[in-house]
């Protein structure tokens, strides 16, 4: 079996969320989530949250950072911190983009890495890089990182938009 190993594929079609509730365990030291063709029903951010083994709800405590490089179709471009999209011991949905356009050809794609989710000693680090067609017509290259500030094992993950439903494909890989 190759590395990375494809564990599961989740196809969202006008779905409120994609919840991956199996396959995250001590088998792999790292899980990689590749998401493609994410198209929201309304302009919105895609985000992620986690659930600790034995708990309920996707509402774990996160401290995170998020910045982006962006270039508008009209020409202006810069590197910027995105205040309001990161968290300081928050339990909200962790954004992985700014507002993704809901137009018929607008989408985002990227990769999220989750490290050592089954470890019960340390916090759980994650980071992502996501390319987006923003709702205000710019190309965004968004870098998010942080840790889930729990020592319990994380065994579930949820992807959803900040509002509304979405289409998309999310594939979970294990890296042994």
């Amino acid at each position: 079996m190759g590395i990375p190993t494809l564990i599961s594929t989740h196809t969202a079609s006008d779905a409120a969320s994609v919840d991956i509730t199996s396959g995250i365990d001590s088998t792999y030291d790292e899980y990689m989530f590749v998401f493609t063709d994410i198209n929201p029903a309304e302009d919105a951010r895609i985000g992620v949250q986690f659930n600790v083994d034995g708990a309920s709800g996707f509402n774990e405590t996160i401290t995170s950072t998020l910045f982006k490089a962006y270039s508008y179709e009209s020409g202006s471009a810069a590197l910027a911190y995105e205040d309001g999209h990161d968290q300081a011991q928050g339990t909200a949905l962790q954004g992985l983009t700014t507002s993704v356009g809901s137009g018929s050809d607008e989408s985002c794609a990227g990769i999220l890495h989750l490290f050592s989710p089954a470890n019960t000693t340390y916090v759980k680090h994650f980071y992502s890089r996501v390319l987006q067609y923003a709702s205000s017509d710019y190309a965004g290259d968004v870098f998010t990182a942080g840790y889930v500030n729990v020592t319990g094992a994380i065994d579930e993950i949820q992807f959803k938009m900040s509002s509304g439903n979405f289409d998309g494909v999310i594939q979970m890989y294990g890296i042994a």
Binding site: G2, I3, P4, D29, E30, T63, S64, T65, F67, L79, Y81, D86, Q87, A88, Q89, H113, F115, S116, N119, T121, Y122, V123, H125, F126, Y127, F143, A145, G146, Y147, N149, T151, I175, A176
Partner: protein, 178 residues
């Protein structure tokens, strides 16, 4: 991108984690993934260096590098996206930081990956880049971006990871891609 796991080093209160074999011309790209890196000493930096000497592994290759970071305090008191001029190298043989000032608390750690390109090439310098996230001493989440080159045309045959001071726990895996 198919990867092959070559070596796993598990450190338990060790001074260094050394990869002294299998870095050769088998692969054009080597990826080092590090998990659960916890220093014994608070505010220690997680670092690496290379060797081009297969006999003694002196870990003193000249490097020129870049380092930028973005941090955010758990109490929301501070955040900053900035180049870290004190953490890069300019033709230095010192160990390159992958994280800085890590917390040594029982649940504090770092994780990330280092990409090393074509280490066996004997014509060009050897490029690398890394990305990681760390629990910084003082309860801060910090994502780090490091890149640069070993300024040597000799083949890089070994890598060493260590904290800037004190021992560490860590799992570091070396993969070949190709």
């Amino acid at each position: 991108m198919a990867m092959t796991l070559i070596t796993t080093n598990t450190s338990s209160d060790d001074a260094t984690s050394d990869f002294t074999s299998s870095i050769d011309n088998t692969y054009k790209l080597y990826i080092f993934k590090f998990y659960d890196v916890n220093p014994a000493t608070d505010t220690a930096d997680f670092t690496f260096n290379g060797s081009d000497d297969a006999s003694s592994h002196s870990y003193d290759i000249i490097k020129t590098t870049t380092y930028f970071t973005f941090y955010h305090n758990e109490d929301d008191s501070n955040y900053n996206l900035a180049y870290q001029a004190a953490r890069d190298l300019a033709q230095s043989t010192a160990f390159q930081l992958l994280t800085d000032s890590q917390g040594s608390g029982g649940d504090e750690s770092s994780a990330g990956e280092l990409f090393l390109f074509n280490p066996s090439n004997t014509t060009y310098v050897k490029h690398f880049y890394a990305r990681d996230n760390a629990y910084y001493s003082g309860d801060i989440s910090r994502q780090n971006y490091i890149a640069g080159y070993f300024n040597t045309t000799a083949a890089i045959t070994a890598l060493q990871f260590k904290m800037s001071t004190g021992n560490m726990d860590a799992v570091i895996k070396m993969y070949g891609v190709g």
